[in-house]
């Protein structure tokens, strides 16, 4: 298309750019708009450059480490909500994949042993077989108890500790910042301390967030374990019914054969 003639009277490239960004005098704008109705080349180029601009919108910089810091545009409450929402916004398939991964690792760590024998389906966990409490008999009433209470306590303790550290650091930072009559070096030190403090707080928030995510995963693991157990029970019932049916058919067949003889 570049070989198509353009009869625009003026600096075509600059006017095209000014028109596209709508940073142009009204008279120039009207003149170029009129030109566009007759010039295929300019119309095509304008369309293509707009497509490039559309592509540019897809390039976002990474979230900086200081992202968790509050700002006028993103108050602290909104940041907390956004962090929680960002985890909820992870698609179900990704959450399921993560849950299955954790489940697999947990099963490996717990030495999960599934055995199907004459006693029915037996699930055993733990490295020491001498602990009967770890054995789950699927034929009986199932009671999966997770050790989530200490985990929650740990998480709550961690959260309390981090929040108290933030509060104390805030209180410590303010008096330092309030003095403003010191020398330039002093001022530079203050700003550096402020930035370092902010980074430290960011790391603490990250630790808290990781703790929260682990908690969510733990809850998902508990739900998955219960679901798997129910599914295994259903499979066992189906298998038992199938065996009964086959036995009945076999007995029926044998009795018919004996009658014919």
């Amino acid at each position: 298309m570049t070989d198509q003639a353009c009869a625009f009277d003026g600096d075509r490239e600059q006017t095209l750019i000014a028109y596209m960004y709508d940073d142009i005098a009204p008279t120039d704008r009207a003149a170029f708009a009129a030109h566009l109705t007759t010039c295929v080349r300019c119309r095509g180029e304008l369309h293509a450059l707009r497509a490039v601009r559309q592509g540019l919108t897809q390039w976002a910089p990474p979230e900086p480490l200081f992202a968790g810091r509050s700002s006028a545009a993103t108050p602290p409450v909104a940041l907390h909500e956004r962090r929680a929402r960002s985890w909820r916004e992870v698609p179900v398939w990704a959450q399921a994949a993560a849950a299955m991964l954790v489940l697999g690792i947990s099963a490996g760590i717990a030495n999960l042993n599934v055995h199907y024998g004459a006693d029915g389906l037996t699930m055993r966990t733990g490295w020491s077989k001498a602990q009967p409490a770890a054995v789950v008999e699927t034929s009986g009433r199932r009671d999966v108890t997770l050790t989530s209470a200490p985990w929650r306590d740990d998480l709550a303790a961690l959260e309390r500790r981090l929040r108290s550290e933030w509060q104390s650091s805030d209180a410590a930072a303010r008096p330092v910042l309030a003095r403003s009559t010191a020398s330039d070096d002093e001022v530079v030190r203050r700003v550096q301390a402020m930035i370092k403090e902010s980074e430290r707080r960011q790391q603490s928030e990250l630790a808290l967030r990781v703790g929260g995510v682990m908690h969510d995963v733990n809850v998902a693991r508990a739900a998955d374990l219960a679901r798997i157990e129910q599914t295994l029970g259903a499979i066992q019932n189906t298998t038992g019914a199938e065996l009964m049916k086959q036995r009945y058919q076999m007995a029926n067949y044998l009795s018919q054969v004996s009658l014919k003889r």
Binding site: D23, L56, W59, P61, P64, F66, S70, V90, A94, I195
Partner: protein, 192 residues
């Protein structure tokens, strides 16, 4: 009450350190984004961002308000980016990994977006980043300031110290290079 940048600057000069903290909170993301798009390295962009505010704080008493505070900050950051590029003697790098991390990718998924659309968006972002890294510094700066920071031609011209017509020419040339590079990968139309 929300203070303007200039009011916060005036309060900072009078000794209210919280006001300067507010300015940092207000502008650290745009300055980081500018630095990242100029030099392409997250850690270095963070350093540039930090150094920008340090220099601004040191020179705060000299800020007379002839220009907007944001323009003043942009100028400091751009000078630091230019120093970085000269010191490192290299063009911006494309830092993103080759492989797609599905979990990271999924976190960026829009609620109504399919996986195919998400991957296509990710690929386009990478293609844009690579193409931008190919541009000369002046063209890249003009595009970044116009596209991502919404500055007018005149503001860009004042910031980088060149005629207004030069800004438009740089934008045209830069966008044309991007168009060609993106067309190679089938990202935009090829009817050049």
């Amino acid at each position: 009450m929300t203070w303007t940048d200039e009011e916060l600057v005036a309060r900072s000069i009078r000794g209210d350190a919280d006001s300067f903290n507010e300015l940092i909170l207000r502008w650290e993301r745009p300055i980081f984004a500018l630095a990242y798009r100029q030099i392409g390295r997250e850690e270095d962009a963070r350093d540039v961002c930090q150094e920008t505010f340090l220099r601004a704080y040191r020179a705060l008493s000299g800020f007379r308000g002839q220009a907007k505070f944001s323009s003043w900050l942009y100028r400091i950051a751009l000078n630091l980016c230019r120093d970085w590029i000269r010191r490192e003697r290299r063009t911006p790098v494309v830092q993103a990994p080759e492989d797609i991390d599905l979990v990271d990718l999924a976190a960026a998924q829009e609620p109504s977006e399919s996986i195919e659309d998400l991957v296509a968006r990710h690929d386009l972002s990478r293609a844009v980043e690579r193409a931008m890294a190919l541009l000369p510094e002046e063209q890249r700066t003009a595009i970044v300031l116009k596209e991502y920071h919404g500055l007018t031609f005149q503001e860009i011209a004042d910031l980088v110290g060149c005629p207004l017509s030069t800004v438009k020419t740089r934008l045209y040339q830069g966008l044309t290079v991007l168009r060609r590079e993106l067309a190679k990968n089938g990202r935009v139309e090829t009817n050049l």
